[in-house]
């Protein structure tokens, strides 16, 4: 049964303690936001292939209606968050560290908030087929709401009952962010329903709900809900507050003492990890037939008047949400999507909230002080002490900086979770994570180029081979013709001469006949 006593089984390397700044945004209940005049829905709000729009400009859509379909297995559909008219499908700024635009569906809302016909609720999910439940999760557009945005249905797919533990990631370790905390305080019952659905699909023997000990209310409400539902083999586990305990690998290690293999996923060791917000969305989809069209977003920082959490429709602009939270204060210095450690600064507040956006941090100078100028690495080793992935950040930095990407990969660049612990502790103020992101995107782009080049080589080789074959065939035909001619030549020179002479004679006869004809014609006209 549930246990609220600290029950940490494992321990991860490194990590850092920081002021958590969670109190600011948890003073009031999660507020509903009024429907904004316009919603901007990027086609790519998840990891994988962008969704394909299935509506066109001018079309009227209803709340919950499919507006973009998944385009492949690793992809997720998108639904209209409210009723309105599609005003355009065009490029618009999206929340992305590049600050670039991408294709979006833009809805001018009509304020009526009229629902489309939804798929029927699956109340009795315990007797429903797994495939039906997974399909429901897939068609509801649910992706990892902790920020990873990986399509959730894929994590649920059959693994021959090899999953023995379900981990609910409710650690929420990054400072300032409180959306999961508030969700657990207010919606513990539905989260528990979601857990039962996932447990049923995975057939996992036990479930561990990991919550950091700086969220006593959430721990209390989750424990009560688990007890009330008399969930078997489900424990609320309090973990010490230490960033980044909410990293998938770190939490898995904390709760089970097991290491996820390098380049592997938790499923390799019989574990599936789901963010608590995702669990809530799954319950919504299965029990109410509702697709993922809204989420809780934390709006916080000294730059906003009333820090709080809100139920935001997906596609609402950051500016709209900030004004819901009382607007900017004079201290607003930058607008960060996400938290201070892993978030990125956005160029304007016209950027929409997408499925993966959990927090808008309107930071003051104090919240996020400008980084001090970097100096040379003094090889103090502090970064390695702090790294929760047990990497050697200094080596990674060295090789990324000198664009020695193979070497960086030898030092497990791709095991880096970009938590920012190393940059945070570096006495030389080196923005280490920037170098890793630079190196990672460079490597991805090189890999893509290589795949493209290999493909082009194949096509070119195929073409060359085809042209050669055609040329060879033509040659063969010519040779055959020649051979045929030669065999006709069999009669020798005299025969050939006779043939030619005959032809000449024929031609001459024809000619004289023609002449005669014209002559007689002429005389007739005379």
């Amino acid at each position: 049964m549930s246990a609220t006593a600290p029950l940490t089984l494992g321990h991860f390397h490194g990590g850092i303690h920081m002021p958590d700044h969670k109190a600011e945004s948890t003073t009031q209940p999660v507020a509903a936001v009024k429907i904004p005049p316009q919603l901007i829905l990027p086609l790519q709000q998840h990891i994988g292939a962008p969704a394909k729009a299935v509506v066109s400009a001018g079309e009227h859509v209803l709340k919950g209606q499919l507006i973009a379909a998944a385009s492949g297995r690793v992809s997720a559909p998108i639904h209209a968050p409210t009723s309105g008219v599609i005003s355009a499908i065009e490029d618009h700024l999206v929340p992305h560290s590049s600050g670039l635009s991408a294709r979006c569906i833009i809805i001018d809302t009509d304020g009526r908030d009229e629902w489309a016909e939804l798929p029927p609720p699956i109340d009795d999910f315990t007797s429903a087929d797994n495939a039906v439940l997974i399909e429901r999760i897939r068609e509801s557009g649910i992706v990892g709401l902790g920020g990873a945005t990986f399509p959730s249905s894929i994590k649920m797919e059959a693994r021959n009952n090899s999953i023995d533990t379900l981990i609910i990631n409710a650690a929420e370790c990054e400072p300032y962010i409180t959306c999961d905390d508030m969700l657990m305080r207010e919606q513990a019952d539905q989260i528990v329903s979601g857990i039962r659905i996932i447990q049923h699909i995975l057939g996992a023997k036990r479930c561990l709900i990991g919550i950091e000990d700086n969220k006593p209310e959430a721990i209390k409400s989750m424990s009560a809900a688990v007890a009330a539902a008399s969930l078997q083999h489900t424990d609320v586990v309090t973990v010490p507050t230490l960033y980044p305990s909410g990293g998938e690998r770190q939490l898995t290690l904390l709760l089970t003492g097991k290491e996820v293999p390098s380049h592997g996923i938790p499923a390799n060791i019989g574990i599936v990890c789901q963010n608590v917000g995702t669990v809530y969305a799954i319950a919504d989809a299965v029990l109410k037939g509702r697709p993922l069209i809204s989420r809780i977003v934390t709006i916080t920082g000294e730059g906003v008047a009333q820090p709080q959490n809100v139920y935001s429709l997906i596609g609402t602009s950051a500016g709209e949400l900030v004004s819901q939270a009382g607007g900017y204060t004079g201290k607003a210095n930058q607008l960060i999507c996400g938290g201070p450690m892993m978030g990125y600064s956005m160029p304007t507040d016209e950027v929409p909230v997408t499925k993966g956006v959990n927090c808008l941090l309107v930071a003051s100078e104090q919240d996020c002080p400008p980084p001090e100028p970097a100096t040379a690495c003094i090889r103090c080793g502090k970064c390695a002490e702090a790294c929760p992935a047990q990497l050697l950040p200094q080596q990674l930095y060295w090789h990324s900086r000198s664009r020695n990407f193979d070497k960086a990969q030898d030092y497990h660049l791709f095991d880096c979770i970009e938590c920012g612990c190393c940059s945070h502790v570096c006495p030389s103020h080196i923005q280490l994570v920037h170098y890793y992101r630079f190196a990672k995107t460079q490597i991805w782009s090189k890999e893509k180029e290589k795949i493209k080049a290999d493909h082009a080589r194949q096509r070119h080789e195929a073409r060359v081979a085809r042209l050669e074959r055609i040329a060879a065939e033509r040659k063969a035909r010519m040779r055959k013709k020649k051979a045929v001619l030669k065999s006709k030549k069999g009669g020798g020179d005299s025969a050939k001469k006779a043939v030619i002479a005959a032809a000449v004679k024929r031609a001459a006869a024809k000619k004289s006949a023609a002449m005669a004809a014209t002559d007689s014609n002429q005389s007739a006209t005379e």
Partner: protein, 188 residues
Amino acid sequence: MIIAIVTIAALATLFGLLLGYAAMRFHVEGDPIADQIDKLLPQTQCGQCGHPGCRPYANAIANGEDDINRCAPGGEATIIALADLLGRDPVPMDEGIDEKAPSVALIIEKECIGCTLCIQACPVDAILGAAKQMHTVIERECTGCELCLPPCPVECIVMIPIEEGIGNWIWPYPDNDHRDLSLSREAL
């Protein structure tokens, strides 16, 4: 003394035979060096290096007939990779060759007269069409070699640079002297 000489001679013969056998048994078809060079070339097949495609250029480098700085689409990165592979010093790009931004060809379809000349020029069969029919470029397959441009009698093929989007964006090389992610208060 004699025994030592005989032993060594016998060993030498033995190893000689072994090596000879290995050379025959594990004979590698083709030219491994040229293969490796070819793997580093961008496969645009544009011929700007003065060879009719990447593979011939790879052969020329392998045979020491050409330098490693002739491939425009590959640019500096390819020169460095080739220098690495061949254990040479990188050299600057050959003069008169400019690196170009990657792009793909686009046929302005309403102007196309369906002469099929571009199909015959395309090194990777990226153009679809039949005589007197409108032609089109399969964007996915186009390497941006520009070989289809000169043959087109109505000049209806244009090159479209591949735009930077969130899919192919690369984090800028960190520049710590100023805040690349900062936002001035006025912008809020």
